[in-house]
Symmetry: C2
Subunit: 380 residues, 2 copies
């Protein structure tokens, strides 16, 4: 079996290494636009099964070409390339597991085309979206009547630095949407948009995390897939305490706006200045990171109030040199591909983790995560 991995960055290289460890897989093709990234990935994987390839993944024809002939592919690409990857997979008739959760309505609109091509496309199959969606959907299906689902997730530095107690993993620009775009949620079974940085609340996670805070962020696919099944649903992003209050001041006073402002005769987009000023304050420190996750679903079961909750506090894996972000995002995709190739996922079309890994597969999914060091526990 041959699997292609699109993108060999921080998450892609973990995926390549994990895939190469699977006995059923004979060839892993690691594709990236940068020779240096491919080389680093090959060194990191350290397996003769892995073959590197440099290709322009921004070109849709190239995407089709690199997937053609593979049994499956995993896309660990920037958001902007994700929809093209889904389209290319259909053309190449290659199963695809995509880490990206954005643009769900456009992706699910390709469901019939994917089905006709005989492939399964799993979208948003990382940690959040991904594991978090599965836990939430599981809570909903365990209840007779699901009232409220709240989903928390955050990537945190192990050693937070002032003033913002956060480290950007990629570029600050890639998380700017959290501070500037409305967040999709469900109220009374209907889609609603919540203002960016709203719903600020304190929350606590077990050691070594401690006191945090959370604001609404986009719920992506679960807002659609669970719409008829739970009355209220929202996702929240977690940071160390103090972070959002400061970013909230910047947003409130207009410093994150993309509208040009005239400054001494020239036009300045405040957000561009914010990126330039904040980026150096959100970097440095070791790559050790933490990923926290919590799903709480409440409602009724057997006529009584009931609640299901799960939690994860995942830390940097020094032995395997996996960042927590790389591990928790990459492992669900690796499991999906493994199961696909083993014939355990006979569904075809464009589907989400919360549709695939519930029911009888749920405990097996948690066990598979645990087997690769991603431990989710049920909580009170």
């Amino acid at each position: 079996m041959k699997v292609t991995v699109l993108g060999t960055g921080m998450i892609g290289k973990v995926i390549v290494k994990e895939l190469a460890l699977l006995p059923g897989i004979t060839r892993v093709v690691a594709v990236d636009g940068q020779q240096a990234a491919v080389d680093a990935c090959l060194a990191f994987a350290g397996s003769a099964k892995v073959q590197g390839r440099v290709a322009d993944l921004g070109d849709p024809d190239v995407l089709v070409d690199v997937m053609t002939g593979s049994d499956a592919a995993i896309a660990a690409l920037p958001h902007a390339l994700s929809l093209s990857a889904v389209e290319a997979a259909i053309q190449a008739k290659c199963h695809l597991v995509d880490l990206v959760g954005s643009r769900y309505p456009e992706k699910v609109a390709l469901h019939e085309r994917a089905r006709a091509a005989g492939i399964l496309v799993v979208v948003g199959c990382g940690v959040a979206p991904g594991i978090l969606n599965v836990l939430t959907a599981r809570g909903v299906e365990l209840l007779d009547e699901a009232e409220d689902a709240v989903m928390y997730c955050g990537g945190l530095p192990r050693h937070p630095q002032p003033p913002l107690w956060y480290q950007v993993v990629f570029r600050l620009e890639s998380v700017m949407g959290l501070y500037t775009r409305p967040a999709l949620a469900l109220e009374q079974h209907a889609l609603v948009q919540r203002p960016p940085l709203s719903g600020l609340e304190s929350c606590t996670f077990p050691e070594p995390v401690g006191e945090c805070e959370a604001v609404y962020s986009d719920a992506h696919s679960v807002a659609y897939t669970l719409r008829g099944k739970v009355r209220r649903l929202s996702e929240k992003t977690v940071r160390y305490k103090g972070h959002f209050a400061k970013m909230g001041v910047l947003a409130e006073l207009g410093f994150l706006s993309d509208e040009p402002v005239s400054v001494d005769g020239s036009e300045v987009r405040p957000r561009r200045l914010a990126l330039a000023l904040l980026e150096p304050q959100l970097q440095g420190g070791p790559e050790q990171d933490i990923t926290v996750l919590r799903a709480i679903v409440t409602g009724k079961k057997g006529g009584n109030p009931a609640r299901f909750a799960w939690e994860m506090v995942d830390v940097y894996d020094g032995e395997r040199r996996y960042t927590s972000m790389g591990k928790t995002t990459g492992v669900p995709a690796v499991i999906a591909v493994e199961w696909l190739l083993l014939g355990r996922l006979p569904e075809r079309g464009v589907l989400t983790p919360e549709e695939l890994f519930v029911g009888e597969r749920f405990e097996l999914f948690l066990a598979a995560l645990r087997g690769r060091g991603v431990v989710v526990t049920a909580s009170a």
Copy 2:
């Protein structure tokens, strides 16, 4: 007697009107760079004693010219012109009362020259610096041993608007120093500089003000004139609660810095963008304002702990159409000129209100303020 008023802005026009009401004064010359400002001042004063004059007060020779032949002058000028006005008064041999308190060391260096010219120059003779300095010095002289002096002052909008609960009276740039420059204070009788926006504390003023907050601001002349007399001294600027916390976030994250930052290939000074973004959020609403002031001096008297404190909450004067800022800043200067011309201030040289209005003159000074609607009360 003829008095010249330099600058006919918000404060200058109140001064002109008040001077014209004094029986001993036969002529008030109101000078400004702008014809419109002079016209507005004449209309506001509504007195045949007042004569307008348009002149470029940025030109030192013009300053000398407009003061020559006057018995006294009051400078209600921007900070940048204040030192030139003191120098010009010496050349013109014209007594001068200056509202501005900055650059005290440079002004007091002209003391001997002013004395030789036979004139009195009163510097920083407004509300703060001005009234506040007098109260503090009074507290110090009433004690046998003065330990600690804390001076609070703030100009507040009567109807505060979100998000910053403050209205700039002139231009935001004129108060930017408060957010960006170190604040002079005394510790163990020595001059120290405190970081901008430091020392944030909550404080409360009587209705209609309520909950406020304060940070260190520059103590100006009192740091020099009271240096040997009180162990610790600091001045704090008051705003409604929430204001400084937000400005503090901007400062901490670099958005008030004057260092150019490269943004998309061009250089941007963050502070210039901050001025452009914040100015519209600090304007609007009626001109009704409030001025709060509090001086607390503690130490020992007769071997026992003792404390002297005064407070003022001054509001917009709708009858006279005096802003509180115009009234509380202008009235002390008018009193100084009145006393000067009556021969009650025989001192010559460059002196401060805290050197002139203490001792036996203190209660008379408070009574004179009260007579013009500026009420300071002793508090517990």
